[in-house]
């Protein structure tokens, strides 16, 4: 219930600010924000929105809207959507992908995304986080993570000598494990970019 009241309050505040807008463009932007809240409300997504905000505050892994075992499944899904879910993230075999359509929306690409690498890099910026559990094999870790009745959005674990991020996507009922070494992809991108810049 509380989320509905908060949304109404926010709309009220936006409405008041709108009256003091300095230009028609600014007025329109306030209206856009008000409408965005109505959109969530009328789509019945207010609780999901609440969860989304909670996840965002707790620095959960990047939000995804769907998860697929294979690229084929993902491609059928993205093709059949009435509009392209552009800039939304999805998991394909537990790899992050972003939906990017062409200008005419006719081609909808599922492009491997650096989201988890960026997330892990940010998490480790001030040193490696402590692990909550240690396992010998990935299967053991997987079984443990699946067995958690109410898992947090993420937990740092160790499998062998490697750190992993165990992630729980409550909105799509999905759990995944990401090795911290995923960050190396971001580092490789950075090295290539810096080499290229130095060469120019």
């Amino acid at each position: 219930m509380k989320i509905f009241d908060r949304m109404l309050e926010a709309q009220e505040l936006l409405g008041k600010s709108r009256e003091h807008a300095r230009s028609p463009e600014e007025k329109e932007l306030f209206l856009l924000a008000i409408d965005a809240l109505w959109f969530v409300w009328r789509n019945g997504q207010s609780y999901e929105f609440e969860r989304y905000r909670r996840d965002d505050e707790s620095n959960a892994p990047p939000w995804v809207i769907a998860s697929f075992n294979t690229r084929d499944e993902a491609e059928v899904w993205v093709r059949e959507r009435p509009t392209s879910p552009d800039l939304a993230l999805v998991l394909i075999a537990d790899e992050y992908h972003v939906v990017l359509s062409s200008r005419d929306e006719q081609r909808r690409a599922l492009v491997p995304d650096l989201a988890i690498a960026i997330h892990i890099e940010e998490m480790t910026r001030n040193g490696l986080p402590p692990v909550v559990a240690t396992f010998n094999t990935r299967d053991e870790a997987k079984a443990w993570w699946s067995g958690q009745a109410e898992p947090p959005p993420q937990a740092v674990i160790q499998i062998g000598s490697e750190r992993y991020l165990a992630a729980f996507y409550e909105n799509i009922h999905h759990r995944a494990l990401f090795p911290f070494s995923a960050v190396e992809r971001l580092h490789a991108v950075r090295r290539r970019r810096e080499q290229k810049e130095a060469g120019e």
Partner: protein
């Protein structure tokens, strides 16, 4: 001279890859150029000599029975003044596209763009973006259009054929996927794809469109409809 109306199709074209396309302006080809039907089709599938390809326009048409026919027709039969540069300011859609034919890795460019964006401080206009995840969403959005442009350009990379027959087969098979203004290279000669009214596909030698009269922006191709 018979002038074929190429209608409202506007093609701007690149001359970069067509630099080698200006063969000797010799005699016409030996094959029959007698006209047939309203478009004045040359009959049959015989092709001009390779060194004279740039003096001919390739016309592909569909017969009422659904059969595809093609003919090579002298440039002189076409009113190329229909193909004008559109002033920059009027270029409402279509894009500047480098006509060079090197392959790009659009995904690698996207990654580099996002990483570069993340490593830069955002301007003051984005002071509301405080979390790294908001910043990465912002960067993804900012790098989306360059990615689109890259992908589009890859789709417009010249299709290259060493022989005319290969090219014609491919054009007939892929007629639905062809874009106005895309480049097809046949035996080293660059052609620009157009769809004038009444014809299925026309390939115009890029060099013919790139005569000094039109030579405003070499190296670049832009397309508008």
């Amino acid at each position: 001279m018979r002038i074929v109306n190429l209608g409202a199709v506007v093609v701007l074209l690149g001359v970069l890859i067509s630099g080698c396309a200006s063969g000797p302006a010799g005699q016409g080809p030996a094959h029959d150029v007698s006209t047939r039907g309203s478009m004045g089709m040359a009959g049959g599938g015989s092709s001009p000599a390779v060194e004279e390809l740039d003096q001919y326009v390739l016309v592909i048409q569909e017969t009422p029975g659904g059969h595809l026919t093609h003919s090579w027709r002298p440039i002189a039969e076409f009113d190329l003044s229909q193909f004008r540069f559109q002033p920059r300011a009027e270029r409402s859609y279509g894009r500047i596209v480098l006509a060079a034919a090197h392959a790009r890795d659009c995904h690698a460019e996207l990654d580099a763009c996002i990483d570069n964006c993340l490593s830069q401080p955002l301007s003051e206009d984005y002071s509301h973006i405080t979390s790294y995840r908001a910043k990465s969403a912002h960067c993804r959005k900012g790098c989306w259009q360059p990615y689109r442009d890259c992908e589009e350009l890859q789709r417009r990379r010249p299709q290259e054929f060493s022989a005319t027959n290969q090219a014609i087969d491919w054009l007939k098979r892929n007629r639905d996927g062809l874009l106005v203004g895309s480049t097809v290279v046949i035996a080293g000669v660059a052609f620009v794809v157009a769809f004038p009214p009444g014809v299925l596909i026309v390939l115009i030698p890029a060099a013919a469109l790139a005569s000094s009269e039109f030579d405003g922006e070499p190296r670049f191709t832009a397309v508008a409809q």
